[in-house]
Symmetry: C2
């Protein structure tokens, strides 16, 4: 082996078996996205640093993880770290886009993250965003679509944790917390993981008074049915858009069938600072895996990008496609395939190769994925090859048979063999 022949750390090759599986998953996503009226766009992998580092974009911590370099003209460019910033740029640069703009993108992003198992430095994101819609129909359509996708993928054990930044803000007001709101949010976000004692300590450290913390935590810990939580909330923060928005989602949820999966989770924050309303997570039961899809509403980020005063509302759902694939593999939720070929034509002698070619070309024309033996191997070796690749049928051609325009079709699973006329091969195989 050539010295140092290895992959860049955190990157992966997808060999056929893995790639075929990933393509199937991606095809399920695309079909569902298009079924709900989304259209695809594609943006470059490399973006100007000015775009990636815009102050209303991903934020300082993500920039630390961003691959960047100078091109030969000395311009600083970087590999994109998400698909949301490019979307904001596209909307800002194309004021004539038809609204609402429902776009999907399934594409690679790069982050120079700490190297851990299950973490990659080059990985896929899979995003749907609806730009130009304030109504909670945007949220609800995406939830309904996600539920359909998870059902097609074979997931059933997940809930939709739902919250709203407007409620969180009101609860901070209610508790009398008026400063360091963003820092408080970040601590609340980890409340479930670290417990209230630890979170309390951290809040005290940044200068929040104990009585305020206790008042806040009491509200965050309201539990029960969605309706019960909303009723309790209304007693504390009577008029709140966030509550109205959650109610709206719940009512659409009844019509669309995802209502029973909703679990209002008042301590859910989601890290990004650009969220302005709805925030949510789809979580599976395994605690180690947790979130498989997440997102939220960001009504002001795009208009800031565009330098416009009027809000350009937007809601996005990001499917954690890498994590979904990992879970599906762990749970054996897929059929492994190392080939997409259905028929292998096996000439026993070089002399009959022309017939093998003609048969293969005819099958191909009829849409049957077909391979021809190219190595003049023995029949035994050819059958081994077809078996290893999981090919369903082998068309065996010998000298005698050929003279009568006959071939033997072998079903590789049942090991059944049938001697038939050339013209009947397709009808057996299709």
């Amino acid at each position: 082996l050539m010295a140092n022949l290895e992959l860049v750390r955190g990157t992966r090759d997808f060999l056929p078996e893995e790639k075929i599986f990933r393509d199937r998953i991606i095809s399920i996503f695309r079909t569902a996205f298009e079924n709900y009226g989304f259209v695809p766009i594609e943006t470059p992998a490399i973006e100007k640093w000015e775009t990636l580092s815009a102050k209303f974009a991903g934020g300082a911590s993500i920039l630390e993880e961003t691959y960047n370099f100078d091109d030969r003209a000395g311009r600083k460019i970087g590999l994109r770290y998400d698909l949301t910033v490019p979307l904001a740029r596209v909307v800002a640069m194309n004021p004539n886009l038809i609204m609402p703009f429902k776009r999907y993108s399934i594409d690679k992003v790069w982050r120079y993250e700490e190297f851990k198992p299950g973490r990659y430095r080059e990985f896929y994101q899979c995003d749907c965003d609806i730009v130009g819609v304030k109504s909670m129909l945007a949220e609800s359509e995406c939830f309904s679509m996600a539920v359909n996708i998870f059902s097609k993928l074979g997931f059933d054990d997940y809930i939709i944790k739902l919250n709203n930044r407007k409620i969180l803000s009101a609860l901070l007001d209610y508790a009398g917390i008026k400063t360091k709101k963003d820092e408080v949010f970040l601590i609340i976000d980890k409340l479930d993981k670290m417990g209230s004692d630890e979170a309390s300590k951290m809040l005290i450290e940044i200068g929040i008074k104990k009585e305020k913390i206790e008042k806040l935590f009491k509200t965050l810990q309201i539990k029960g049915s969605s309706e019960k939580i909303l009723v309790e909330l209304e007693k504390l923060i009577s008029k709140n858009e966030g509550i109205d928005e959650l109610r709206e989602i719940l009512s659409y949820g009844k019509l669309m069938g995802f209502g029973s999966r909703i679990q209002i989770s008042l301590s859910l924050v989601r890290g990004l600072s650009y969220y302005t309303g709805t925030i949510f997570e789809f979580s599976v039961s395994e605690s180690k895996i947790g979130t498989i899809t997440a997102g939220g509403r960001y009504d002001s980020m795009i208009s800031k990008f565009a330098g416009k005063e009027n809000e350009i509302p937007a809601f996005g759902i990001s499917f954690g496609i890498e994590r979904i694939i990992d879970v599906m593999k762990k749970r054996n939720m897929y059929k492994s395939e190392s080939s997409l070929t259905k028929v292998f034509t096996a000439p026993i002698l070089d002399k009959v190769l022309p017939d093998a070619i003609v048969i293969a070309e005819n099958l191909r024309k009829k849409g049957i994925n077909t391979e021809i033996e190219m190595l003049s191997r023995t029949l035994k070796k050819q059958l081994e090859y077809a078996d290893k690749k999981g090919i369903e049928y082998v068309v065996i051609l010998g000298e005698k048979e050929i003279s009568e325009k006959m071939a033997t079709v072998r079903n590789m699973k049942t090991k059944e063999e049938k001697k038939i006329n050339f013209n009947d091969i397709y009808s057996i195989i299709k």
Copy 2:
């Protein structure tokens, strides 16, 4: 607009209309590749510099165009400039791959090329390679597949220029040229473009004697049918593997139907130094566009990568997907679509929105791509939207109709409207 909001030079956004078109083209390629028994693989966009700069890979001039940078640990990495080097790396690193290994990749590459119209710094390559096959069946299958693809895309006016490096070498021997063969090849490659006077001058400049040049040019200018050229060649270079290989391809070409497109072009060289046998180009008639697909056989490159003594034969065809798309656009060879949605459900009043939702969700479940009005617009505006997006049907829902479970289905092309029961919407639309 935010200051400096622009794309990196030589990169492009694909907005829905463009992206939908590109996806359709890519889907035609994939279907054909799989039809011929190829499987997909995917490799990282970023590779170690040691891999990209291996001396048997793309060569020094391509490295000058390669984006490279140090990661935070000080390791030099680069953005891949083609898909062949990653393939060689994959084969070298995975000695257990089942042979023959027929893989396809359709993916982005990056080159910091001189900035010209129609040239991109981030662009797609679309490659099929067959590893492990010495037989000209590899070449022939790829040609047959390409002919099928071009027929599906709507191309008919192209030829397959074909040559073999083994013949070129023999012709140099015949002319008595024993040194600077690679430089001579590069000059021959431009013979057709610059004419024989200019080429002759350049050959003299690198020290080739006039009589040798004349002897060489006389052979390169042999014209006529493929068979005639081969017969003439045999008179000069009696025993040559390259001639046998061309004959083999021609005979498969008769069986597979691409034979009539073959034009043996003795001055065809193809730039890359790793080609060892067959070289070819698919060219359309417009002289400005020229080559739309090209490739060749490289029997020693992968084994050098793997550090093995035994040859690992390989043949590759690279579809010039960017150029093919450009030609198709220039020739109006595609139907522009700005949406993939078939039905738009248009509630006239917010009151009937729940019915619109239920209707839309039912159509979606049946596989019909459907959108719902999300902006509470007037019917007129909703119809304008559906029209702009090229949506075929609008389901109009008013208060009166709803009470009788009736809706009006409007065909946006014919402008025909039909009032029908909710349950019959699908049967009209499908």
